[in-house]
């Protein structure tokens, strides 16, 4: 099985509010000093799903990322978890790419890699929370797609996919090649082994520009007009008491006084 995993490096989603800053004039987020970027969490789930499928059915996993030079670390992490090859598309013209531009570049990169049976993405990147690239990519490539995915099994040339629905999940039969956007319910990403980390350190990551892939900087489809940090005014009233029972009684009383209950 040939699997492609699309991995994005993002600012750590647990960056504390006190350290989260934007440059309003440039409409950019300022990377918080001392907090390294990470692999998008859902992409770690996609990597894990790919490695599990490889363990069961054999095959080869290629990791693709569009990002800055630092995104090499994200690719190396995927390699250390068991992926086989990495391709970084590093091109300043795509630094602030929207979903449309990103999907276009990734589609070209995927075509350059060759035959594939399955493309795995995360369901959403935790920086711009677009939740569009996977479905867009599938549309550009003209293959079936499913999101959000909570489980994958392979029988022959068909996938059995667990898709989340509001009350539970449904099971879909999907022919390959297909694209699945993986959610955190699918698995618990493994920690890389020491052997994996050493192999990844030695592995070479291919680097290409968009021009190498024959993609020019196609226009954005979504214009960013303004970026700011919303103000949250704290209006907390602390409920005190000598004992937890007293705190509970005071809370109940205040809720009644304010007609909340």
């Amino acid at each position: 099985m040939n699997i492609i995993v699309c991995v994005k490096q993002v600012q750590d989603p647990e960056t504390p509010a006190s350290q989260f800053r934007v440059d309003e004039a440039a409409k950019k987020v300022i990377p918080p000093p001392g907090i390294p970027p990470t692999v998008n969490q859902y992409d770690a789930n996609a990597i894990e799903a790919a490695v599990q499928l490889k363990e069961q059915h054999g095959g080869r996993i290629t990791v693709i990322s569009l990002g800055k030079d630092t995104a090499r670390d994200a690719i190396k992490q995927a390699l250390s978890m068991g992926c086989d090859a990495g391709l970084l598309i590093d091109d300043p013209a795509f630094e602030d790419a929207d979903a449309y531009q990103t999907a276009n570049v990734l589609a070209a990169a995927i075509k350059s890699v060759g035959d594939y049976d399955l493309i795995l993405c995360g369901r959403q990147a935790s920086d711009w929370d677009q939740a569009q690239v996977p479905q867009g990519l599938a549309e550009l490539l003209g293959i079936p797609s499913v999101t959000p995915v909570a489980g994958i099994e392979v029988t022959g040339t068909t996938l059995r996919v667990k898709r989340l629905i509001e009350d539970g999940y449904e099971v879909l039969e999907v022919p390959m090649p297909a694209l699945l956007a993986v959610s955190n319910e699918a698995n618990q990403p493994r920690y890389p082994t020491l052997k994996g980390i050493m192999a990844a350190a030695r592995a070479k990551v291919d680097v290409k520009s968009a021009a190498d892939l024959g993609v020019n900087a196609v226009g954005r489809k979504v214009q960013l007009l303004r970026l700011y940090v919303p103000k949250v005014e704290s209006q907390i009233e602390w409920i005190t008491g000598e004992t937890p029972e007293e705190q509970a009684a005071n809370l109940a009383r205040r809720l009644r006084e304010e007609r909340v209950i």
Binding site: Q11, P13, T15, A17, F20, A99, R123, S126, D127, W128, D129, Q130, A131, Q132, Q135, G136, A138, E139, P144, S145, V146, T147, P148, A150, L164, E166, D167, G168, Y169, E170, V171, L172, P175, N184, R220, K221, V222, Q223, L224, L225, R226, L227, Y228, P230, V232, S234, Q235, I236, E237, W238, I239, P244, E245, Q247, A248, L251, R254, L255, V260, I261
Partner: protein, 325 residues
């Protein structure tokens, strides 16, 4: 020329989702500014009966694609149906309400049309005849104002952010059947598993007690939250940490990638208040936070804060409220 606003009518088991009615409310307000009709795209099998409800909620015209092959949602079968409706209605704007269906459908459709889409928006406004949306980014740490380009402009709206209209049974509208030839798509739905427990649904509950990582694995601990919720006549929700740990099912998750709720009362128990969690509950009228860490971010957004161990506070609170209500 393209005009008006089309709403994708999302439905489950023969009912129009509340989010669709909210989107119709938003569509009405946008159409008042940009001109043109409000229409709805109703796709499914045996769903034509829902058209009246959509008209009562604000649609002037309901385009219906009704066919056996559209019985179960898959993007492969719904995309051509929606495409046919959008071609016929020729709207300037298409609105979806955020759900696990539209999350799958809307981006693929925007790419099929080659137009811009803004997902998970919480506010819409009109400037120079074009719609601009506000959407939280970085989990909610920042807010972006965006303009999707192309015609139609497309948006997915976060639940509970837009007012529905008051349903008006006397409203008149047109129902237009749209014939689409849909063959069975490549993707087949072969099974469906429901995991929902009894009790009020989270998105409808007016009072919610929500538990986080600090609640722990023990069933008895969650039982205590249920007991408090029962006294309040509400429902129990959870943070993703609790869902990821496998303590509670996914449908209980509140937040950016879970359910959006806006109850009168939201009691967050042992939840730290990460932006991605608050994305799902910051619309609550009154937030009560119970946490042993006074520095927890949840206290910045709560109206009432109780610093302490939930294990001691919750039983006492349940007892207190039982006596009171």
């Amino acid at each position: 020329m393209a005009s008006g606003v089309l709403v994708y009518a999302d439905h489950r088991e023969g009912s129009v989702l509340a989010g669709t009615k909210e989107a119709l409310g938003a569509a009405r307000r946008l159409a008042d500014q940009i001109g043109g009709p409000v229409s709805a795209a109703l796709i499914g099998n045996g769903v034509a009966g829902l058209a009246q409800e959509l008209i009562q909620s604000g649609a002037d015209t309901v385009y219906v694609a009704d066919a056996p092959a559209l019985d179960k949602y898959t993007n492969a079968t719904y995309l051509p149906a929606l495409d046919a409706i959008v071609s016929q209605a020729d709207p300037a704007v298409v609105l979806f309400s955020k759900s696990l269906v539209t999350l799958d459908l809307a981006p693929r459709f925007a790419f099929r049309r080659g137009v811009g889409l803004a997902n998970d928006v919480i506010d819409l406004k009109v400037e120079n005849g074009q719609v601009i949306a506000s959407r939280p980014v970085y989990g909610g740490s920042a807010m972006a104002e965006v303009l999707p380009e192309g015609t139609p402009q497309m948006f997915t709206i976060r639940g509970k952010t837009q007012e529905p209209l008051t349903p008006d049974p006397s409203r008149q509208g047109n129902v237009v059947p749209v014939s689409v030839t849909v063959s069975e798509g490549p993707v087949k739905v072969i099974d469906q598993q429901k995991e929902r427990a009894s009790g009020p649904k989270l998105q409808d509950a007016t009072r919610i007690v929500s538990g986080g990582r600090g609640i722990g694995e023990a069933k008895e601990n969650w039982r205590q939250l249920e007991e408090l919720a029962e006294v309040l006549g509400g429902a129990v929700g959870a943070s993703r940490a609790a869902v990821d740990a496998g303590w509670v099912p996914t449908h209980m998750q509140i937040g950016l990638t879970g359910t959006t709720v806006s109850p009168d009362l939201y009691i967050a128990v042992a939840i730290s208040g990460a932006v991605q969690h608050m994305a799902g509950c910051s619309g609550a009228k009154t937030i009560v936070a119970i946490n042993k860490d006074p520095e927890a971010a949840i206290f910045k957004q709560a109206r009432f804060g109780v610093e302490g161990d939930w294990k001691k506070i919750i039983p006492a609170l349940t007892k207190e409220l039982k006596a009171m209500m």
